[in-house]
């Protein structure tokens, strides 16, 4: 057997690390839908891992762990609030009512503003409803432009096993889409990094969600289909 038909050889080279960037990305994507390839990769990982014993340990900088801790603090799952559960109920009602394009987004935005007022939470400035079409909103992104903070919450997105939803910021001035992190099973983005962007970019950008291999795009760019997208609108 030659080339990519040599599944075990391909898996072995993936683990050895000798594939180029495109080949690596292709294998990372294929393993999600090819259990035989995935198993072959695991087999090679387990076979070759003793080699790490020959790699010298190096103690990283002392300040590295605090940096990691501050990153994961942004990813700690927040319990789903009553707000979201209420919204979901309302959403089901709205869906049944088959409201036309745009109206759902407006309703959700108003509902969030109202609910958050009721719960005396800090009102976010803007909200984006990420949807495929008017009848299927999937995620709510709320953004406080002043603090450059962001939360992502699932409305009707279903988890796909072995895959991850990745959130992207898309805006002309940025060139390529910029990853805002993986949306975890609880719906929080892993480490939202809006701090790196200017307020006008944050406000005018499109927020898009693509379906990526588990753990996120292997290339730093969307590799899977863009399933949901939306722009920010005022929430109050």
């Amino acid at each position: 057997m030659t080339g990519d038909e040599d599944l075990d050889g391909l898996a072995g080279e993936y683990v050895l690390g000798t594939l180029d960037a495109d080949e690596r990305a292709a294998v990372a994507a294929r393993r999600l839908r090819e259990p035989a390839l995935d198993a072959a990769i695991r087999g090679w990982e387990n076979r070759l891992v003793p080699l790490i014993e020959s790699v010298a340990e190096v103690v990283p900088s002392e300040d590295l762990f605090p940096k990691i801790e501050s990153r994961i603090e942004n990813s700690i799952v927040q319990p789903r609030s009553a707000t979201i559960i209420d919204l979901r109920r309302q959403l089901n009602f709205w869906r049944g009512a088959a409201i036309a394009t745009g109206t759902i987004a407006a309703c959700l935005a108003i509902a969030i503003g109202a609910q958050q007022f009721r719960f005396k939470e800090k009102t976010p400035n803007l909200v984006a409803v990420l949807q495929k079409d008017a009848a299927s909103p999937a995620f709510l992104v709320t953004v406080n432009v002043e603090n450059r903070t962001m939360t992502v919450r699932p409305v009707a997105a279903k988890n796909e096993s072995g895959k991850s939803y990745e959130l992207w910021l898309v805006q002309e001035s940025l060139g390529a889409p910029k990853s805002l992190g993986i949306i975890d099973e609880e719906g929080s983005a892993s480490h939202p990094t809006l701090a790196a962007f200017k307020p006008d970019v944050i406000k005018s950008a499109t927020y898009a969600v693509s379906l990526e291999p588990e753990g996120g795009s292997p290339t730093g760019q969307p590799t899977g289909p863009v399933l949901f997208a939306g722009k920010l609108i005022p929430a109050n």
Binding site: D6, D8, G9, G12, E13, V15, L16, G17, T18, L19, D20, A21, R24, A28, R42, G43, W44, E45, N46, R47, L48, V49, P50, L51, I52, E53, S54, V55, A56, E57, V58, V59, P60, S61, L64, F65, K67, I68, E69, R71, I72, S75, I76, V77, I182, D184, S190, H191, E214, G215, P218, T219, G220
Partner: protein, 181 residues
């Protein structure tokens, strides 16, 4: 020294977002994982950034860790190596002369390799590597430990890239046969 079992239990707790367990996993594994990514990436600044991402991923995905499929260190090393390899492959090659201190390539001394192996799997792997041609053994080590691409191996061994690919695949098949799995 944390045992594999203890590390597995710590990962389970990390899967439940136990911060204390996460600190212990970091304490136990960060020097090894940093050694791995630094060897592949050669640059401390990039390697530390990658190591941060690796531990964030370990935090996020610990609940998915399945002890029936891999040892804890195998699972974590795969995350670290994949992230480091993705990074090194998408970057322009680093001029090695700029970083002379990292020209510490895979040891040519295979007896030393065998001696570093702490467990039975490692000793078997070292023994099977001994059955490969010295040059091909060296290729496997340069790829796995130092992150050499096919192109870099082609340059180092003065062979066409396709020849390197053929040799790598044959070496892998031979290793697998020798390991008997």
């Amino acid at each position: 020294m944390v045992t594999a079992d203890e590390l597995g239990q710590l990962l389970q707790r990390v899967g439940r977002h136990d911060r204390q367990a996460f600190a212990e996993v970091y304490q136990a594994t960060s020097a090894k994982l940093y050694g791995i990514v630094l060897r592949i990436l050669s640059r401390r600044d990039i390697a530390e950034e990658v190591l941060q991402e690796v531990f964030v991923k370990i935090w996020e995905r610990a609940a998915d860790y399945d002890s029936s499929k891999a040892s804890p260190i195998s699972w974590m090393a795969a995350i670290a190596r994949n992230r480091a390899l993705d990074e090194v492959r998408r970057k322009l090659p680093v001029a090695i002369e700029d970083y002379p201190e990292i020209q510490d390539y895979a040891s040519e001394d295979e007896t030393a390799l065998a001696a570093t192996m702490r467990n039975e799997d490692g000793r078997r792997l070292a023994e099977c590597l001994q059955h490969l041609d010295p040059e091909r053994r060296q290729m496997v080590l340069l790829a796995y430990c130092d992150g050499f691409s096919r192109d870099e191996l082609a340059t180092r061994f003065a062979q066409p890239v396709n020849t390197i690919k053929t040799w790598l695949r044959r070496s892998l098949a031979q290793l697998k046969g020798c390991l008997g799995s």
